[in-house]
């Protein structure tokens, strides 16, 4: 793609001015108000080549391709979640049908903390907009499409990682503030993906205080080389804007200029807004810069009112730390296929992992046991057993226990048969409140 030429950009803008988690929650009506004011006042919607589109309402089946919602899709989400997911799919359709060359889903609520199993909301997210879009793209435009997701939100994209962690078609790179210093406390470099996609989960923890210099260093020296190597058909940027130096929830130093340059370097096909809660000091400027960069226009005059060089300067010791991390991660990427997977995942027939997941927004604790079939012919069917209840640690209410059988894209005959048998067996066992089947290739989603 030529960066010098002007690109046709599709903007799906949906600020959901009548929706909030609670009236004083960061995810409230006001969040994109000043962004709207800035974009409209700048006249960005009149720029030839930038066209605005309406989102649509995502249907249950579209959400079920990426999630197992407990007890049902309709019970865990509101209409605005459906619109955010629907708008993200519209953004994808605009690019994949050739109507625009790039698109930007500037909408809320966000989604990158939403896992495959959804008992409620965590990290302000309930369903994962990027994941729903990816499944929509594979269903509509071809299941062999190779898709890269580059998540530049300040928080680790743990939900997106969870959904695609064993998916060989997906490369997931997350840049974020070091999990030892910020929610959700994950996203370390040793988290590299499941047996069928080992190395395709790339986590880049950044020290608090990282600024434009550090983030752009990672893009240029790690993300772009990995993308060149992976050769994706589609690059998605999950563009959280909470690395900004004014963000109240994080400790990073990135500026609007940094975000615009990042966008220019990455030249993603689709950009999806994630977090970002400096609604006055950051979002209006970051989004203006981002739109200009996407359209291939000059963004050099975009500047925050309180910007100063000293404020956003990145200390030298941080640069050193980042350079070391990048060198290590590049080495890990290059040698990912040499790793002895049996040493990590055993020799089967199943690999089992156990996790506890806390839903901070809804105060729910979930315990999960996941079994992946180690299959030489495909990425392997999976079964997740999940129990969840209100409360943290000690359950406050009834524990809902479910099981979900997942059949991946391009599953082999044996895996399909085993998965179907498992689904029957779990149903008959009577141990679960609900048993789910998610079969993306046949587009079958069952709950019994």
């Amino acid at each position: 793609m030529q960066s010098s030429s002007r690109n046709k950009v599709g903007l799906v803008f949906f600020p959901a001015f009548d929706w909030c988690i609670t009236p004083d929650h960061p995810e409230r009506e006001e969040r994109l108000l000043y962004t709207r004011d800035q974009i409209v006042e700048e006249g960005l919607l009149d720029v030839p080549g930038i066209e605005e589109f309406r989102p649509r309402v995502a249907e249950d089946v579209e959400i079920s391709r990426a999630h197992v919602c407990v007890p049902s899709v309709g019970s865990v989400i509101t209409q605005s979640h459906r619109i955010a997911a629907g708008g993200t799919m519209v953004a994808a359709d605009l690019v994949l049908t050739g109507r625009v060359s790039r698109s930007f889903a500037l909408l809320r609520p966000p989604g990158h903390h939403a896992n495959r199993i959804v008992h409620g909301s965590r990290g302000f997210c309930t369903i994962n907009n990027e994941a729903i879009m990816v499944e929509h793209v594979r269903r509509t435009y071809g299941s062999h499409l190779r898709i890269a997701i580059v998540d530049t939100d300040a928080h680790h994209a743990d939900g997106t990682q969870d959904i695609f962690y064993n998916d060989p078609g997906i490369l997931h790179i997350s840049l974020h503030q070091d999990g030892r210093t910020l929610y959700p406390g994950t996203g370390f470099i040793h988290e590299r993906g499941g047996p069928a996609a080992y190395g395709q989960t790339v986590n880049v923890p950044l020290p608090p205080g990282t600024g434009d210099e550090g983030v752009l260093y990672v893009i240029e020296n790690l993300v772009l080389p990995i993308l060149a190597d992976f050769e994706p058909d589609l690059v998605i940027n999950a563009a959280g804007q909470d690395n900004h130096y004014t963000d109240p929830l994080t400790n990073m130093q990135v500026t609007a200029q940094g975000y615009a340059r990042l966008t220019e370097l990455l030249s993603p096909d689709i950009v999806v807004l994630e977090g970002g809660y400096s609604i006055e000091g950051a979002l209006p400027y970051v989004n203006a810069g981002l739109l200009l960069a996407l359209a291939g226009l000059d963004y050099s005059a975009v500047r925050e009112p309180d910007w100063s060089e000293e404020k956003v300067k990145q200390p030298p010791h941080i640069s050193e730390t980042i350079e070391k991390t990048v060198a290590q991660l590049w080495q890990m990427w290059r040698t990912r296929k040499d790793v002895d997977l049996e040493r990590i995942f055993g020799h089967g027939p199943f690999f089992t992992r156990q996790r506890r997941i806390y839903y901070d927004t809804d105060n729910i604790t979930e315990e999960q046991v996941e079994k992946i079939r180690l299959c030489p012919a495909c990425s392997g069917w999976r079964v997740i057993q999940s129990g969840a209840a209100r409360g943290w640690g000690v359950p406050l209410g009834r524990v809902t226990v479910i099981a979900a059988v997942l059949i991946p894209w391009h599953a082999c005959e044996d895996c399909r048969r085993e998965a179907d048998e498992e689904f029957d067996r779990l149903q008959k066992s009577g141990r679960f409140r609900y048993v789910y089947l998610q079969d993306v290739e046949r587009d079958i989603y069952k709950r019994v």
Partner: protein, 579 residues
């Protein structure tokens, strides 16, 4: 009560005289561009014979003079001073006129971020005066939230010895956001101000020449009127009043004043279409586009397509699976006058003549022209004529559908609007224009709705001018966290007293109060004519506390039109059909 409506068009000047709700006379003269007073007076004379009143005559004027001077690039050279602050580079806006950029900046909540540099302002003004620029436009980004920097520059312009003949400040023209549009609107306003002053001078002379003329109003692009005095401040609003005049004429003459309708004005070359929803006209989303400039000027939503009674008809050959199919395409170019009336090529009007749907001109000539196409298609003359009519109707219905799809796909920013979109689909097709009687009933049947064909065509513009009423809107913006409120259109900024008690009801009250004030200036005295049309309200939360609220409320004088019935001089009632 008598009202005279005059539409000064590029070719003709049309006039209509209305008594109460009835058309009593219409007239037409060629427009004399060299001596406009003469031709305008002559148009007035054509209808004054029917004036039997004693009270002064109210005069409504619609003119395309400003539009023409912009299109032809005859506006006065203007110094445009911009305070852009950070953001998109002005050089990339492709404005099509020169802008002098100043330092200073205001942010999205109207807070001053960087001050004006007075010396810089003075230097720019001096240079412009030396270059012979006599009019000035001043525009700041976010000046609709805080106009103080524009006002400071205006004060500097008046203090010094610059003697600008006219000064436009961006915030006075519109309370709506969009800096590039505010720039273009202000630039156009400043450059046509001189022309408008001369026009107003002419109108005043017309009034002095012994005619009993009372109030004079000018038609605007939104189909409403403004006072002569106001037009000196906001001349840009009179631009594009031409299409508005005809469509207002249609609204005035229609039996369907309430509800949803599509108004279709079928001419010889083009068809203009406008939309009425819940009894009110639909406006351009942000503002009119004038000679390639996107502006904030309120304007009726009008779509034009190249389809009319004189349209060219072509036979399109398409080859598919070894089979050749022939299809008729009508427009967008004009073929010339219909063959029935002496033209050389077949037109949709000729097809209607062949089928006996209308009785204009010579049927033999029409048959001969349509027969040529019939030969190319290898079918009979009548069948060809039917295909032409069907093709015209299909193209018209498709164009109408496009309009609704466009309007219905406009972005919305709330969940409730997205889930329950407003129903704007038409229940009736209102048609005017020469070919309307042929095509409107067929198009309405294809759309499954009622239709109505209005008896006036060429005079609809003058009738529309006469029937139109004042319109105006104000934008009330209050930010209780900052303790400030502004009504840019009224040049008001002030502090909010007892900000903690200031709620949405109080904000609505204030918005209404300002709109009533504005209405009074225009002679609108009934508070029921004031309506709130847009409303936004947000809590401002910092930390975990609500520290205030932001309200933006737009209130307007309702866009109304005087109901007009065809006079005895015409006799025909509106043709109507319930489908």
């Amino acid at each position: 009560m008598y009202i005279a409506g005059i539409d000064v068009g590029g070719t003709n000047t049309d006039a209509a005289l209305i008594k109460d709700n009835e058309v009593v006379a219409t007239g037409k003269v060629p427009t004399d561009h060299v001596n406009l007073v003469e031709s305008t007076a002559a148009a007035l004379e054509t209808i004054l014979g029917s004036y039997r009143g004693t009270e002064p005559l109210e005069l409504h004027l619609s003119t395309t003079l400003s539009t023409n001077s912009i299109v032809e690039g005859r506006g006065d050279p203007a110094l445009v001073l911009a305070v852009p602050g950070p953001g998109m580079r002005i050089e990339d806006l492709r404005l099509g006129f020169a802008v002098h950029q100043l330092s200073g900046s205001v942010d999205h909540r109207g807070r001053e971020v960087a001050p004006i540099d007075r010396e810089e302002v003075k230097a720019a003004m001096n240079a412009a005066r030396e270059a012979g620029m006599e009019v000035l436009a001043v525009v700041g980004k976010f000046s609709h939230r805080n106009p103080s920097q524009e006002l400071t520059i205006e004060a500097l312009a008046r203090e010094g010895d610059y003697r600008f003949r006219h000064i436009t400040l961006g915030h006075r023209l519109s309370g709506r956001p969009n800096f590039p549009r505010r720039l273009a609107t202000s630039y156009l306003n400043a450059s046509v101000a001189g022309q408008q002053a001369r026009f107003v001078e002419m109108v005043r002379r017309l009034m002095l020449e012994g005619r009993n003329i009372g109030k004079v109003y000018l038609l605007k692009a939104d189909g409403g009127t403004m006072t002569l005095e106001d037009s000196l401040v906001r001349p840009v609003e009179t631009i594009l009043s031409g299409p508005a005049a005809s469509l207002m004429g249609a609204r005035a003459l229609s039996n369907h004043q309430e509800g949803n309708a599509i108004i279709v004005d079928i001419g010889g070359t083009t068809t203009d279409m406008a939309v009425q929803a819940a009894g009110e006209p639909v406006f351009q989303p942000q503002g009119a586009e004038i000679a390639g400039h996107r502006t904030l000027v309120p304007a009726l939503f009008v779509r034009s397509i190249g389809l009319g009674g004189d349209s060219e008809i072509r036979v399109l050959c398409r080859r598919e699976n070894g089979q050749t199919s022939r299809q008729l395409v009508i427009g967008p170019k004009r073929a010339g006058i219909p063959a029935a009336l002496g033209g050389s090529r077949p037109t949709p009007t000729d097809a209607a003549v062949v089928l006996g749907m209308t009785s204009v001109g010579d049927v033999h000539r029409a048959r001969k022209a349509v027969a040529e196409l019939a030969g190319a298609l290898g079918i009979g003359v009548e069948e060809t004529a039917r295909k032409i009519i069907d093709g015209f109707v299909r193209q018209l219905v498709e164009a109408v559908e496009d309009i609704y799809q466009y309007l219905e796909s406009r972005p919305v920013y709330t969940v409730s609007e997205l889930l329950a979109p407003r129903d704007i689909r038409p229940r009736v097709l209102i048609g005017l224009g020469g070919p309307a009687q042929v095509f409107i009933p067929l198009a309405a049947r294809a759309m499954g709705i009622d239709w109505e064909v209005l008896p006036y065509h060429e005079e609809a513009n003058a009738i529309g001018a006469a029937a139109s009423r004042p319109t105006a809107a104000v934008t009330y913006h209050a930010d209780t966290a900052l303790g400030v409120a502004a009504v840019p259109e009224m040049d008001y900024t002030g502090e909010i007293q007892k900000a903690m008690l200031f709620d949405i009801r109080k904000a609505r009250e204030e918005a209404r109060r300002w709109a009533i004030e504005k209405g009074k200036e225009l002679g609108v005295l009934d508070p029921d004519d004031i309506a709130i049309v847009e409303e936004e309200s947000f809590n401002v939360v910092r930390g975990f506390y609500t520290i205030g609220r932001i309200f933006t409320i737009r209130a307007q004088v309702r866009p109304q039109v005087r109901r007009i019935v065809p006079g005895a001089e015409r006799g025909e009632p509106n043709a109507v059909q319930q489908s």
